[in-house]
Symmetry: C2
Subunit: 169 residues, 2 copies
């Protein structure tokens, strides 16, 4: 069974954290919450999900995990100003380990400059940013390009979760 | 005296709307609030500023105004999925009329694809997006490049407002 890092901070899109994590755990995987500060409780943008950060991004390494989940909302906008979070995401891409990116999650990968030549989807508002980052944008509920699984928004969660679980098999 | 369109929707950075608008009005200029829907009241991300939208972006034209103010926060992320807002911003750039962009405001201009070859600043999180859009990013409190006046964050507001007022002279 896999060990998945979920990287998030305040203003994440609630369901984009809670639904994948619930499905991963139900399937027997382990999820560790990672953020700028261990022990802090972060709140989703809809204010109905509160998550305690178990590990600071400083104290984890890509070698500790089998996959990375990046929930959307405005959490990726907050994370991408933290060089440690950018490096952590970048390490998963370089190691070719599964990265699950939904909604605004590609923003973190854009700052990491790891999307050149890749194919993915993402939230409507960042389509131009994805294209400008040298990637091919596809308007589909889920896109799997090698290690990278991406979806557009909370409406895509069933397809997203299914594709993530398949990648973890 | 000038007539300025302030384009915004929910989750704008409160002070990035209120401080420039207060200064513009004090200097004798007129400000018209423009958004996706006329008559709606939108709320800043700090929840302490509520603004009524006077004109829908459908019913205004660049010819009606002398300048455009784009406050930051998460309002630009919301506006850039609205093609009418993107076109409206684009029209100011094409007409070479002053555009005042602070914090996340360049996101709207990135979707409009009007930043190639331009020099500007913006919020830390979108530095890579600005560069990928073909622009030169400068880390300074205010950058004036022709019609485009840009600043990084609320801390830059005094310099931003001063540069905007000068451009309106």
């Amino acid at each position: 069974m896999g060990k998945i890092a979920a990287i998030l901070t305040d203003w994440f899109e609630d369901s984009e954290y809670s639904q994948p994590v619930q499905a991963f755990k139900k399937d027997g995987h382990t999820v560790v919450t990672v953020g700028p500060e261990a022990g802090r409780t972060v709140t989703g943008k809809r204010s109905n999900t509160r998550v305690q950060i178990e590990k600071s991004v400083s104290e984890v390494s890509v070698e500790d995990f089998d996959a990375l989940l990046i929930p959307g909302g405005f959490s990726p906008d907050n994370l991408r100003v933290d060089e440690r979070a950018v490096s952590f995401a970048s390490d998963f891409m370089e190691a070719n380990k599964p990265v699950f990116a939904i909604c605004h999650a590609p923003q973190l990968l854009i700052t990491a400059d790891v999307l050149r030549g890749r194919t993915l989807t993402g939230y409507d508002s960042i389509i131009q940013d994805i294209k400008n980052a040298g990637a091919k944008f596809v308007d589909r509920e889920v896109v799997v390009d090698g290690n990278l699984v991406s979806s557009r928004n909370p409406g895509d969660l069933p397809a997203f979760v299914e594709a993530c679980l398949k990648k973890l098999e």
